[in-house]
Assembly symmetry: C2
Homo-oligomer: 410 residues x 2
Amino acid sequence: MSLLVQKYGGTSVGNPERINAVADKVARLRKSGHDLVVVVSAMSGETDRLINLAKSINADPPPRELDVLLATGEQTTIALLSMALEKRGCPARSYTGYQVHIRTDSAFGKARIMQIDEKRIHEDLKKGRVVVVAGFQGVDEDGNITTLGRGGSDTTGVALAAALKADECQIYSDVDGVYTTDPRIVSEARRLDRITFEEMLEMASLGSKVLQLRSVEFAGKYRVPLRVLSSFQEGPGTLITYEENEMEAPLISGIAFNRDEAKLTIRGVPDKPGIAAHILGEIGKANINVDMIVQNVAADETTDFTFTVHRGEYQKSFEILERVAQTLKAREVTGDDKIVKISVVGVGMRSHAGIASEMFKALAKEGINIQMISTSEIKISVVVDEKYLELGVRALHSTFGLEKPGHSAA
Amino acid sequence: MSLLVQKYGGTSVGNPERINAVADKVARLRKSGHDLVVVVSAMSGETDRLINLAKSINADPPPRELDVLLATGEQTTIALLSMALEKRGCPARSYTGYQVHIRTDSAFGKARIMQIDEKRIHEDLKKGRVVVVAGFQGVDEDGNITTLGRGGSDTTGVALAAALKADECQIYSDVDGVYTTDPRIVSEARRLDRITFEEMLEMASLGSKVLQLRSVEFAGKYRVPLRVLSSFQEGPGTLITYEENEMEAPLISGIAFNRDEAKLTIRGVPDKPGIAAHILGEIGKANINVDMIVQNVAADETTDFTFTVHRGEYQKSFEILERVAQTLKAREVTGDDKIVKISVVGVGMRSHAGIASEMFKALAKEGINIQMISTSEIKISVVVDEKYLELGVRALHSTFGLEKPGHSAA
């Protein structure tokens, strides 16, 4: 008898058959006594269809109106799922973001949830109803419809779980949990039963597209017990936990990677305070996110400054950097958009110094040259030539023994 | 410099090109100084698509959830039209029924508008914005989404015009006005420049599908100047007026007809008080609407009772009547579902007694047998065999000289 918030993504509700399958599952759980709040995304493909419709009318649609349009996607799904539940004799009520007062700021297209009025939901739950809520959308102070950005339904689920003090927030998608790495690259990759919140944060930010990064942050802030499951197969999924028991914690939980990186270097810039801020300031003004940043110690009066950006913003970044180089009288600008980032992640590495050298040794053994290195408390990332992606990930997965349950590489 | 409420129906906004055409027209009017509130329907075909989607999941979808689903249709259109207007440099704001507080009762699927909060709209108009409102939808006291039923966008337009005290409510559709009769039957049929509210009411209820009956009633209640126009061709359309100047009023404004009728007769029922109420009560309980009712004076102790219903409810009505006949010990039940109703409508006939006889004479001349007759102050209706529909309508159109502007048959 617990209160569960479940979130079903676009592929899980992609057509009437799949909506029926979700309804079967939800009705069964309701029958077994659980209180249920179900958050749904737009049917897969629907958001793209709506964006294309908008662009056929206005290539640069006003963000406010685009949100009004996109919000219809989830509204369609909540109605259909509620109909499917009612058909199964399971009382249900659908609500848009507006109706349950998912209050956000007014940043159309990327709004942030400020507050949720959970009163109405509690009333329905008390009456034995399953509450079906539209993900991805909210309403600002002036009553305008807002959306949270791609993947925002995860955040809706987590925010509702926090507001309702749910026992668990279950995120259903087409993957059945968090893996030690991508099974398409390493066939021995293993689903993790548990992962700590911090590890999940690193995995999410590194391109393991299981959960939207923002929803993980949100879950951490309110310590929402979060579970990732598949809507297409039975299984316990992966539970994101907040307690760390270092005695039990494996050194390394997984190998993450990101294919979409490009690196840029500005060489021979004067080695004095404020230079890094100036360079990154110009990049930031263009709304380009910088990922890794490396600056070597100066050899003479000048230094080299390297950073990575999303591959799609490589050209734009290069042009900005060339202008900056002229202003700074830097020697030259170089770049490479054929690189990838590979990271080992694990809370256990905090107390073990040897992980980095073991990682570098494993890569060297395969003849993989490391171009950049960056570390955090629970993560070591390297940038390598993209042709080494699979080789590098496999080597590291095996070096740290991730294919074995309860593995330990220490 | 007037305040206009315009309503564009589903075919007028049926695809991106048509939405662009509407935006052109609206932006032009805004530029010329008018304040504009635009009400739109769902793109043509969208409502049917949504209903089919619902039925694929639940053959008998709960009305509350069906309304949540259907409301997405207009929400899509308001967003797209606003985008199209903004692209033309014409500031616009879209609003759902919820957002402008189109308060209705809770009769899902056929809700009635109780109240509109026009404050927000006035604020936007003051800022020079075109306000784009979703037709067909509202919100009940508890915040549930409601819809007004098919054609409800007309009612939204009229209700907004009333609340805003607009100078005119303009209903755009694929017809360019109200005609003296259906031009597909009488090629000489003429568009009327004006028609009185009462005549329009009769024409609408008789199956001239230019305007939803309820929207005409609503317009009458608040005396909203209503104009029917085509979105596909320029022209003044038809203005629905409230002043009657009988000196100018033509005797007959138009010939209406209804193909969807069927008649039923119960013969030999006891001629005593309460019988009619009993018969119609049983029909009413089955949610069947009765149109014409005729009872002849009794020849002996018994009488014959005849009424018409929608053709689609003929079978059901017949079965009910057979049960009633047994209870009442009536002689027999007969019926005919191959009949049509033809009516002449005109406020001018109030003061002229000769219209009925002229009408009957014209029909007799063509050998058309009249099966039933029913009259109101401004309308005379007859029921005839369906094979006489075209012949009868043409004969009457010509008899009353409707093909001539400023015609007069007196």
